[in-house]
């Protein structure tokens, strides 16, 4: 009972603080959109829903960032223990190596086994998951202690099995607690990711110009006007949705095509688009509004400033377990809106790292007279 109380209290506090967080960012972005923005209310409504959808879960044992963290934590703990056990800096090193003999194989084996079991562990409830991981660790450590001890020393020179178990439970518990806290710390950030997706929204410049273009069609080409309005509806449906969850490449590409159709209407011959999606893994997951804002930037900075036609080249393909998105557009020196472009890029980069940690990357480069953005994300099919 005593143990349960503070825990509940902590949960309450963190809940409130998250509530505050959301409230604050809602006000801040509200101010950014300006008092006259008609979408502010709609966005506000979206924000107030799903405030506490956060759910505790085991870390993704197949994620490079998670694996790295586990290895580093265990190394650091070993080093700390080695330091405690020796009376000089110099004496710590041999002790550390001695410790590593059983610890390193156990860590590497754990990483392999947990990565292999990852899909099964994922299906378990959080508590059951923790128990399962502890069990797996105990089995691994027992195996290492038995085989390793016999292999190297022909006996149990590693020490008593019970001590091993104690250390294992302590270390595993520590690591899981670390990931629990990290998850907690990042979950407001995930909520934030949704808000950022809203901020990566379509430029008003585009909205009003498109409405104007549709108006010009209504009298002479009502059919085209209808299609254009349908495209706009599709676009805004995504823009106003709860964009916290991952979308698929097919959907993101489709959205981008709808967007480009509308731009084509305004810009006509000036806008040429080359799609290369033959090798696209359509079912792969991607945060929504990653490609579309980039293409919008490409139009705004690469196509609109010139009277000459320009080509936007979009290439989506899969190499081994990575999905690549490469976007190229003409680079115009005259454009002086690079600040806006940088903001969009850092926004997308942040959202990618929130969803994929170290496994996603975004690079932009200027070559000759072309501007290129290259995104790499891990190939994933199931929602985690």
């Amino acid at each position: 009972m005593l143990a349960a109380e503070p825990k509940g209290a902590t949960g309450g506090v963190s809940c409130t603080s998250r509530g505050w967080h959301i409230l604050c960012s809602a006000t801040a972005s509200g101010a950014r959109y300006g008092p006259k923005n008609p979408f502010r209310q709609a966005f506000g409504a979206v924000k107030s829903i799903n405030q506490n959808v956060h759910r505790d879960a085991l870390p993704d044992f197949r994620n490079l960032g998670v694996i790295l963290r586990i290895v580093l934590i265990v190394l650091a703990l070993s080093a700390f223990v080695a330091l405690c056990q020796s009376d000089s800096w110099r004496g710590a090193l041999p002790r550390f190596l001695e410790l590593s003999a059983p610890v390193q194989p156990a860590v590497l084996l754990s990483i392999l086994v947990l990565a292999a079991l990852s899909p099964i562990l994922r299906r378990l409830d959080y508590r059951m998951g923790i128990l399962a991981v502890l069990l797996v660790e105990l089995i691994i450590v027992t195996a290492v202690q038995r085989t390793g001890g016999q292999f190297f020393f022909g006996g149990d020179s590693y020490g008593q099995l019970e001590r091993f178990w104690l250390f294992t439970v302590a270390t595993t518990g520590f690591i899981l607690y670390y990931f629990y806290l990290r998850n907690r710390a990042l979950s407001p950030a995930l909520t934030e990711a949704r808000l950022q997706a809203l901020q990566a929204r379509i430029r008003p410049h585009f909205l009003f110009n498109s409405i104007n273009a549709v108006l010009s069609l209504i009298r002479d080409e009502p059919k085209r006007a209808e299609t254009a309005l349908e495209d706009m509806a599709d676009l805004f449906r995504v823009l106003m949705a709860d964009n916290r969850d991952l979308s698929t490449l097919v959907r993101e590409v489709e959205l981008t095509r709808r967007y480009l159709d509308l731009e084509q209407l305004r810009l006509g011959e000036r806008l040429k688009v080359e799609w290369h999606t033959e090798n696209m893994p359509g079912e792969s997951l991607i945060p929504p509004l990653v490609l579309q804002p980039l293409v919008e930037n490409a139009v705004y900075h690469g196509i609109e400033p010139s009277a000459e036609p320009g080509v936007i080249n979009i290439n989506v393909y899969k190499v081994r377990d990575e999905v690549h998105l490469v976007l190229r557009n003409p680079y115009r020196k005259e454009g002086n809106h690079h600040a806006g472009n940088k903001m969009a890029l850092s926004n997308i980069r942040e959202r990618l790292s929130l969803h994929f940690d170290a496994e996603a990357s975004l690079k932009s480069s200027i070559t000759d007279d072309a501007y290129q953005v290259h995104i790499v994300i891990p190939y994933r099919k199931e929602v985690r």
Partner: protein
């Protein structure tokens, strides 16, 4: 400007074809109750200046964000025409420009344009005071891409990138391109401010284009003292760097 009773001659300027056609539709609707005539269309500021040299107009409906030359720059060059038309800016969304327009009471229409608003704006055109160059220069967020020179009743556009140097003469500023010289009625200090990024002052009365600087050379002057001159690409003459401005050479890796 046309006399009262004559049809109002209108020019439409927008880089997007659908936007032009929309305004054309609206003007046709206006024509029922208002004597007007669309005398031309242009896709950017440069094309507009060329058009206006051939076709006189009373009013220009001028988009702001356009390639080649934006609307605000075009409006500045228009003022040098012998009989400049009135300007009504049109924009879909441009926070900066709208603020500036409000501040200086410049006429503008928001796209999509409402028929009633267009009608009102056109009805007012004959009575509005022409835009002042001062106000336009204050509104312009960026440096101009062209300078406009009046020559024999025509307006000539000189791309800023083509200019090698600008030199203050008695009443004028001489601007020099690889081909020839032009006379400009503007102040050198104002030009220096506007084109700070592209031009550097090497002398009290002279700005040179950074991009065209080939080298700095040392030379003895008449009084026997040695000084520096700058050699520009595509130009035989050397220009003197004053003692006071020698520090600018540091930027280019000399001294």
């Amino acid at each position: 400007m046309s006399k009262n009773g004559q049809a109002l001659r209108v020019v439409i300027v927008d880089d997007e074809a659908p936007a032009r056609s929309r305004i054309r539709d609206l003007l046709e609707d206006c024509a029922a109750s208002f004597a007007l005539e669309v005398v031309g269309e242009a896709a950017n500021g440069r094309a507009l200046i060329e058009l206006l040299q051939r076709v006189p107009a009373d009013v220009v409906l001028l988009d702001i964000r356009m390639p080649e030359m934006d609307g605000i720059e075009a409006a500045q060059h228009i003022q040098k025409l012998p009989d400049p038309p009135s300007v009504i800016f049109t924009t879909a969304y441009d926070v900066y420009a709208l603020k500036a327009f409000e501040l200086h009471a410049v006429d503008y229409l928001l796209k999509p344009i409402r028929l009633r608003r267009l009608h009102e704006a056109l009805a007012r055109v004959r009575s509005i005071t022409p835009l002042s160059l001062d106000v336009l220069q204050q509104i312009a967020p960026d440096a101009r891409r062209h300078l406009s020179v009046q020559e024999r009743g025509r307006v000539l556009l000189v791309p800023v990138d083509k200019i090698l140097f600008m030199r203050a003469e008695l009443k004028y500023v001489t601007i020099r391109t690889a081909e020839r010289e032009h006379l400009l009625e503007e102040s050198l200090s104002r030009l220096e401010q506007e084109f700070r990024e592209k031009f550097v002052r090497i002398h009290r009365s002279c700005l040179v284009a950074r991009e065209h600087i080939e080298s700095f050379e040392r030379c003895g002057d008449d009084s026997g003292e040695s000084g520096w001159v700058v050699k520009l690409r595509g130009l035989e003459d050397r220009l003197q760097v004053s003692r006071r401005q020698q520090h600018v050479m540091k930027e280019f890796g000399r001294l």
